[in-house]
Symmetry: C2
Subunit: 260 residues, 2 copies
């Protein structure tokens, strides 16, 4: 059963890239074949996996506007079993560039399914790292996906955008992709020393119930150091609290998938 | 001398809203008349100043598409001497809505200067809180401004987007607003206990020199607690390290303006 998961939240800096990179790595570590699609113009996921700007010939932008097929853009990463379709700065103007294209909301979904040997058949999990907006690029990710993983920072401002995100998911499900659901909400940068984290966690579990993963990702400096070495936290420091939390999250995700 | 400052950085979660709200409050505290314009669809600056969604009749979106004039959208805030033009969720679709409008990059600048008694004449400082993207909404803020304040989180991923931001500012300065310059870069969420913060701070000062403010904003839980009370940190806890840092930043900003 192939799974395409969009990692999305229009609130900035909540841990989308960190979750896509590290959860993807944990799934690859247990033998799943993983593709990461970087849809953020900043290209943090590409850099965090050791793919520097000069190595990115074809990117997710070129794929969406139809200049190249998806297979030609895919590169191996520093993680065995995980490939990437890298991002480029062109994505920041994508909303206008895609506006006049036919099937503009389906460009990514079509690219994943195109041809005699569709790219999506070559992977067990496809993770899509989204930019911090509800733009046409993020809509493309939602249309291409069967589930959404929502990283949620344990902060007051981060709670505020949740209802707008859920509204958008409902709208995409009703009009563009009936298979879409929120696969799970993962609490990130959880700091057990301050009340705010616990308060936000309680509010979210009350509001969303079982959709929220048991696993909380703690605030852990090793996680933020790893990208400067072009590696996910799991390769940079396997035993740190952050890496262990992403390993737990992967097993919780697999259990949910199995039970579904 | 009236100053319009855009608080911008396409990297998410770096402290744009926190800086616009608290620096604005610190300027109001020393007697400056301040207007905050919230251009982010999440509306965090509006909420952080106690303006809840149901109180926002006309918003920055309505102003930009020409449905209302700027003066009709302005509300007082919990801070004496600071008004706000609030945001709404409609902004998330703004790039497409503005695409066909004439002078689409100048809509905000025109609204600020419109009429016999232009709104911009009623304030000493106008701070514009931008969304985490280089979209047409952020371009509007850059075209309307005389300076840009760039909050920069002391993290590796945050450094990555800096060159793209500087490139965009140069392009806007060359084609749309010759008066535009980077007024300053402010280091945020600085954590003196970890090396990463110090390393990023050194890298940025080496790359940008004096553009970087001396004042660093420390990571401080009071800052992230304040928005849940609808108040800026300066009103929530005046003596905490975070509030004091924003007061220092305001005096450093005023000194730069005076010397300029
Ligand atoms: N659990 C954690 N502990 C410590 N730092 C973290 C953690 N998760 C993420 N970070 C750091 O916080 C910052 C924001 O995370 P990240 O870039 O993954 O968020 P994002 O949602 O992808 O941001 P954007 O909205 O800009 O795409 C990064 O510098 C990252 O290294
Ligand atoms: N100095 C600080 N210490 C502790 N927490 C902070 C600090 N500055 C900001 N925060 C918190 O970090 C989070 C991100 O800050 P903020 O929302 O201001 O960033 P932003 O750049 O406006 O985000 P976005 O890109 O989503 O607009 C918020 O929850 C805020 O309360
Ligand atoms: Mg990201
Ligand atoms: Mg903000």
């Amino acid at each position: 059963e192939r799974r395409i998961l969009a990692v999305a939240n229009q609130k900035g800096g909540v841990g989308k890239t960190t979750t896509a990179v590290n959860l993807g790595t944990a799934l690859a570590a247990v033998g799943k074949k993983v593709l990461l699609i970087d849809l953020d113009a900043q290209g943090n996921a590409s850099t965090g996996l050791g793919i520097y700007a000069e190595d990115r010939e074809f990117t997710s932008y070129h794929v969406m506007i139809g200049e190249t097929d998806l297979a030609s853009s895919i590169l191996p990463t520093t993680v065995k079993g995980m490939d990437i379709c890298p991002a480029s700065e062109d994505l920041s103007g994508a909303d206008l560039d895609l506006a006049d294209m036919p099937r503009r909301a389906h460009l990514l979904a079509d690219a994943l399914a195109a041809g005699k040997n569709p790219v999506q058949n070559n992977y067990d999990y496809i993770m899509i790292d989204c930019p911090p907006s509800l733009s046409m690029v993020t809509i493309n990710a939602m249309v291409a996906s069967s589930g959404i993983i929502v990283p949620l920072q344990c902060e007051f401002y981060a709670l505020e955008g949740l209802s707008q995100l859920i509204k958008t998911v409902r709208r995409v499900k009703a009009t563009l992709n009936p298979a879409l659901d929120i696969q799970g909400v993962v609490l990130t940068m959880y700091d057990s020393r301050n009340n705010l984290s616990a308060q936000v966690a309680d509010d979210v579990r009350e509001y969303l119930g079982d959709v929220v993963y048991e696993t909380k990702i703690p605030r852990n400096v090793k996680i933020s150091e790893a990208p400067s070495h072009g590696k996910p936290a799991l390769l940079y420091d396997y035993s740190c609290a952050g890496s262990q939390a992403y390993i737990h999250l992967a097993s919780e995700l697999l259990r949910r998938e199995h039970d579904a």
